[in-house]
């Protein structure tokens, strides 16, 4: 496991922001860390980085325990804050040079690595100072600095939250590319972003982790739904003819959605359709948007 969080609690005075968090993330995965604003996502990330001390519990990154302040675990980590702040008088290259010196990247390696990363994030050839950069450019530079020392773990705090659709797509594509070398743990409240690139989802709600598993398991846990369309009959007619059938049925976006958990339920529904002379035109698993799934889990 690249991250192991064990029974972590964080209190600010009387306010308990994190309540007994247990979390484990395998290597080379992209884990989306979702939750509403104020759920405690940034607090947990700052605990992982040793920027704030935990009240109880332990955090280990790549086998190295995280300690508050000067933590050796950070040599395995690249971090992109939600609003990355750089020295405005530097160019992207100058800033990455400074980062290379701080991470003690050998001089022979740093020049090639910086060129490679500037290319990855689309900033190669840009000699302007950072004060002239757009939010999206700063975010891309943020990812470049985070990947500089080839970290085993990339932690990104809301990397897409303030970007336009094109900027979001660029960042998501860079994160997906980064997965070849590193595990990515990124927080977001834009669930469609998590859905697009994540292998896993960790869901934080009011300081508690209420889900931490593969994304498809989240679907399984709440779904088992199939969307049908029929030849010769409208959806409304079909729905009326199945009114007495003992399964959860509803109409959604011109399709009949049937909740059929398990093979037995599916077989019996198919037989019933045949018995009632309903000819299937299309049938496919009904994949809900992550937003809906999250709302179901929260309920």
């Amino acid at each position: 496991m690249i991250i192991e969080v064990k029974n972590v609690t964080k209190r600010f005075g009387a306010n308990e922001v994190l309540k007994g968090i247990d979390l484990a993330i395998p290597e080379r995965t992209i884990c989306g860390f979702v939750g509403a604003n104020g759920a405690g996502k940034t607090t947990l990330m700052h605990c992982m980085l040793g920027l704030i001390p935990v009240t109880t519990g332990t955090i280990t990154i790549a086998g190295t325990p995280v300690t508050f302040g000067q933590t050796a675990s950070n040599e395995h980590v690249g971090y992109l804050p939600d609003v990355p702040e750089f020295y405005p008088f530097y160019s992207a290259r100058d800033y990455l040079d400074l980062c290379a010196v701080i991470t003690k990247l050998p001089k022979s390696e740093s020049s090639t690595r910086i060129a490679e990363l500037l290319d990855l994030v689309g900033l190669s050839g840009n000699k302007r100072v950072i004060s002239t950069y757009s939010r999206g450019m700063k975010q891309r530079l943020g990812i470049a600095q985070a990947l500089l020392n080839r970290p085993k773990l990339l932690i990104c705090d809301e990397p897409t939250s303030a970007l336009d659709p094109a900027g979001r797509a660029q960042i998501l594509s860079i994160l997906q590319e980064a997965k070849k070398e590193t595990a990515v743990f990124f927080s977001t409240h834009i669930l469609s972003d998590a859905e697009q690139i994540c292998d896993r989802i960790a869901m934080l709600h009011e300081g508690r982790l209420i889900f931490n598993d593969d994304l498809h398991r989240l679907d399984e846990q709440t779904s088992g739904e199939f969307a049908f369309t029929f030849a010769h009959h409208t959806i409304e007619e079909t729905r009326a003819r199945l009114a007495d059938y003992p399964a959860e049925l509803r109409i959604d976006h011109g399709a009949l959605i049937a909740r059929l958990p398990g093979d037995e339920a599916r077989l019996s529904f198919a037989k019933e359709l045949a018995n009632r002379g309903l000819v299937i035109e299309t049938m496919q698993p009904h994949k809900k948007p992550l937003e809906d799934v999250v709302m179901e889990v929260l309920r």
């Binding site: 700052h46 980085l49 040793g50 920027l51 704030i52 001390p53 302040g69 000067q70 950070n74 040599e75 980590v77 971090y79 804050p81 609003v83 990355p84 702040e85 750089f86 020295y87 008088f89 530097y90 400074l98 980062c99 010196v101 701080i102 991470t103 003690k104 001089k107 943020g142 600095q145 985070a146 500089l148 020392n149």
Partner: protein, 254 residues
């Protein structure tokens, strides 16, 4: 290049790009010129401002008057401007959040504090040397300076007091993490030192004596040994404050 040198280079670049170098050079050069110039023109000015017919007996200015101006201008105007310029070295970074990325990359917190102190101390040294050398050369042009006693030691006392004030400002700026924190710490400390100086016997250790008593060194009225206590206390205070700044910054939640 090691991270300490790398971060020091960043501090230097930042100070140049934010015009600190230019401001310090211009202000302290002006002060350097102003010291002998004020001493030279003061008698003429006084004569002009006196009512007509008044007989004034103003002695001819000497090198001592020029250096007394130095004692008046450099700590009062120069040091105040210097402290204002460097009073947000730490809080500016904490406000903007520029340190977060670098600290998570393994930058040592003690490196942040010590490089900021070194750059501030280097600027104070540069500022002081500029004001001193211009005053020295300009004073030598007009007057014989052989009447002065212990000139280098006397001005070193001002230099050390400035360094103490800068270190105190950096400490306050780090602990309170606001632009006013450092200034408040420096102002309160100076008031406290002046109040302490009202009590007999405190001149044996009080660092404020480095400013108020050291002109006596120039005239030969004050023996060097009077300054041993204030010098040692100031050096000790600088070391303790620098250590305390590192300690506080290590505990700071970012």
């Amino acid at each position: 290049m090691n991270p300490w040198i790398g971060f020091l280079k960043k501090e230097w670049t930042e100070s140049v790009k934010s015009y600190k170098l230019l401001l310090v050079a211009v202000i302290f050069s002006i002060l350097g010129v102003l010291n002998p110039f004020t001493a030279k023109i003061t008698p003429a000015l006084m004569e002009n401002f006196m009512p007509e017919g008044t007989v004034v007996n103003i002695p001819e200015p000497t090198a001592l008057d020029s250096w007394l101006q130095f004692y008046s201008n450099v700590p009062q105007m120069g040091l105040v401007v210097f402290i204002l310029l460097f009073s947000t070295l730490m809080s500016k970074e904490l406000d903007r959040g520029t340190l977060v990325i670098l600290l998570t990359k393994g930058l040592r917190r003690s490196t942040v504090v010590t490089t900021k102190w070194v750059i501030g101390a280097a600027y104070w040294t540069l500022a002081f040397l500029l004001a001193f050398s211009i005053t020295y050369a300009y004073t030598a042009w007009y007057w014989d300076q052989s009447i002065l006693h212990h000139l280098a030691f006397a001005v070193s006392c001002v230099y050390l007091f400035g360094l103490l004030m800068f270190t105190l400002t950096l400490w306050g700026n780090t602990v309170f993490a606001t632009g006013y924190g450092g200034l408040l710490a420096a102002v309160l400390a100076v008031i406290a030192l002046f109040i302490a100086a009202l009590f007999p016997g405190t001149d044996a250790w009080n660092p404020i004596g480095l400013l108020t008593s050291s002109p006596g060194l120039l005239t030969g009225d004050a023996p060097l040994s009077d300054f041993t206590g204030p010098l040692l206390v100031s050096i000790g205070a600088i070391a303790v404050l620098l250590g305390a700044t590192v300690f506080h910054f290590n505990k700071k939640v970012l």
